[in-house]
Amino acid sequence: MRVIVVGAGEVGSSIAASLADEHEVVVVDVDGDRVEALTYDLDVLAIEGDGAAIETLQEGGLAAAELLIAVTDDDETNIVSCGTAKTLDDVTTIARVRNTKYLDTWENAEGALGVDVMVGTNLLTARKIASIIGLPAARDVDSFADGTIQMAEFELAAGSPVAGQTVAEADRFDDLTFAAIICPDDEADCEEIVIPRGDTRLSAGDEVIVIGTDEAVTAFSHAVAPDDDYHDVLLVGGSSVGYQTARLLEQRGIRAKLIERDPERAQFLAESLPKTTVLEADATDRDFLESENIDAVDVVVTTLESDEANLLAGLFAKRLGADRAIAVVEEGSYVDLFETVGIDVAVQPREVAAEEITRFTREEHAENVAIIESDRAEVIEIEIDDESVFCDRTIQSAAADLPGGVVVGAIVRDGEFVRPRGDTVVHAGDHVVFFVEATALEETLAKI
């Protein structure tokens, strides 16, 4: 199909790249340089122009397109692009917005503004942070099957009770599947993704991906890092992401502290967040942090406006005694750097948005997608239909028809969790959560 992507920034380029192999992709951007760069980088048609203008969309072949994805950094442009496209042609539209007020409007009147799917970057980022806080030791968390299933990525610390155990020994949880083990890149003997067997040994530094029920994943999280219990959360920066994160934490009963330097913004936050303690102060003021018992803080989340400030504030807080640091990072290339120098989890809003949008552009029956380790693998949720290789067969027999690198992580039947084992029979209508390595993705998607 033909897909028009409005905006050739990080999100647009990333989406265009992941779609370019299978679809006809047209990318529209006002910036001539970016357009030119993209023309050479990807096998896509790049057009210079305003995505909100009729002529540009027509030039991009809107009449032949099935999907329009508006992902510029400007909310209004994205919404107007979708609205314009909708008036011209029957096309599915996806808009990315930062401001949650548009998301609220849209959610209360679905399909409003000519947008079929609205992806709220700030809210998604906040959700991501909140779920990481909910699972203290996790580096990444995604939920599937209406939230009944969670996928979580853990890095095993040296002192972790499961480090050194085999998978069979560590697997003490009924409703949990070890989907994959990703070894650290610098260890030459283990660069690939390992699909674990019972005798696979877990070692410190490994990243383990588990899929299971909420309770099982939480229990595993406590087994991996028994001391982790996040009650004392410090948010630095009352940006939209910081605000939304505090709101989500409040819903879970976590009373966070939020530091905001701007008096007016602090006042707004204090009024909007009844259970959060808003402090009007500078997060780099050592005396202040010490008087607020920074050393008792379980996790510090930095959601300031600049990456550099987030890095500094996070490191500073950790140095003064905070246990863990989560930082928002806009620039994709900084993610590794952040995690190398001491930030425990770097969350990139653009990646979160791209992930969410990719979910809608997958084969029609994929329900939900999580991208692991910058495209090395994906966790996908699929509703099994009659044509699936799994329909009315055991997992073991179906697996024989699939390439390696595929793990059935969880099955949800009529809202209930079904433990996936070799002899489990899968039926049409079941929601199955798979872990799939990137190399096996195309073939697997076609069969399941």
């Binding site: 905001e260 204090a270 009024e271 303690t277 808003v278 607020e292």
Partner: protein, 512 residues
Amino acid sequence: MNGHLRVDWRASLSLTGRVLLYLAVPLLLPLVTALLYGEGWMPFLATIVVTTLLGYGLSQLDDDRDIGAREGFLMVASTWLAVALVGTLPYLLAEHGTASTLSWPHVPNALFESMSGFTTTGATVMKNIGVEHHSHALLIWRQLTQWLGGMGIVVLAVAILPELSVGGAQLMDAEAPGPGIEKLTPRIAETARVLWIAYFAFTVLEMALLYGLHLAGFAKEMTLFNAISHGLTTLPTGGFSPEAYSIEVFSAAVQWAIIPFMVVAGTNFALFWGLVRGDPRSLLADEEFRFYTGAMASLTAVVTVVLFVGSSLPGTVGLAGVEQSLRHGLFQVVSIVTTTGYASFDFNGWSMTAQYLLLFGMFLGGSAGSTGGAIKMVRWLVIAKSIKRELFTTVHPEAVKPVRLGGRALDESAIRGIHAFTLLYIALFFLSVVVLMLDAGRIGMELQVLDGMSAIAATIGNVGPGFGAVGPMENYLSFPWTSKFLMVFLMWIGRLEIFPVLVLLTRAYWRS
């Protein structure tokens, strides 16, 4: 001189005149009562004539009744003063009245009784109450003044005078108890009407219930006259009763029946609007309502225990003692806290502990938007919350912590206003106690400090009875006329929540 004034006092007084004109209508009730009972009706006809003439005269002052905030304060203050003055006429003219004569010593008494009625205070200077000593018509007039004053004469005016559609919100703001008004409907006149309809409906309901108890044989003394009379003074949290011994003369059934109506009277009437519109949770979800009922429940629990243990009541043994302690404890706490001022028992005989608890209750008051007086629950709630915030910010100096009411953050200026009001209220209380004690001493009247304090708290808070010399079965007659004027003033400013009257005394109000 006129050119320098920033206040269009003609417009204000003209509106006051309009209200007086309308006051002539309810005066028909005592007139009809007099005719029914074959009593002297001339005093009431004379009052109607005087009220109408005065009202007409004032209303002719200005036909451009364009009012702003300043005119609003003057209009509200002068209206309450005017109705209280006109309201003295029946007392001065009636054959069996307080005074029955226009001679000097009776003028302050009549004014006291009239102001106490309209402000729903319920303090009385009548030595002998009851139909044996006064005409039914005069007693009904006394009850009626409370009913008219309860929801607010100005609120009533806003409901029925179309020219107040614009300035009405300011007028109601100046008059209505509690900080700020809540617009229930887009049109202010509609809001005022809703409030009065709810008020009227509850009044009729209570009258029917009380008379129903009589018909059912549970209340011998609750005649139709008494049922109507008490219906007229419960909902305005007034407290006047045509019976000398107030609610004590009635059966336990009547006492229990009156309690919920006093609770209703002290509740924000806007909440009933939510109830009518099919949202029953609006009542329980309201923070002030929970605080109001919670405060009364806790105070009742303490008073009940004090009464039971202290055996202040006859028959305080066994279950009868428990029922009596609870009934009188609850009745008196609700009556005092809502500033109704009925008495189911002569609490002068109670222990000092119980009496001090009631004195404390006199400062609590009903909810904002109710007919109750005193400082009001919402103010105490906000003060409690802001103290809690102070404690928190002592530990966390950088914390930004708005004070929330019902989930909404309050404006700092509103909090300052509440602190200022409460401080001023308490300062006026102490100042007035000193003046009263000095004045009583001047004529050699023996006045206990607790009695004097209760007299001031009861008048500025529109409660009614106090303790000792001004206890529920006593009266305010023995005070010197100077003290009576002081208390008339306190009732007046207490009903209007001090500021609307006090601003009239500032230079800034009259000049730019």
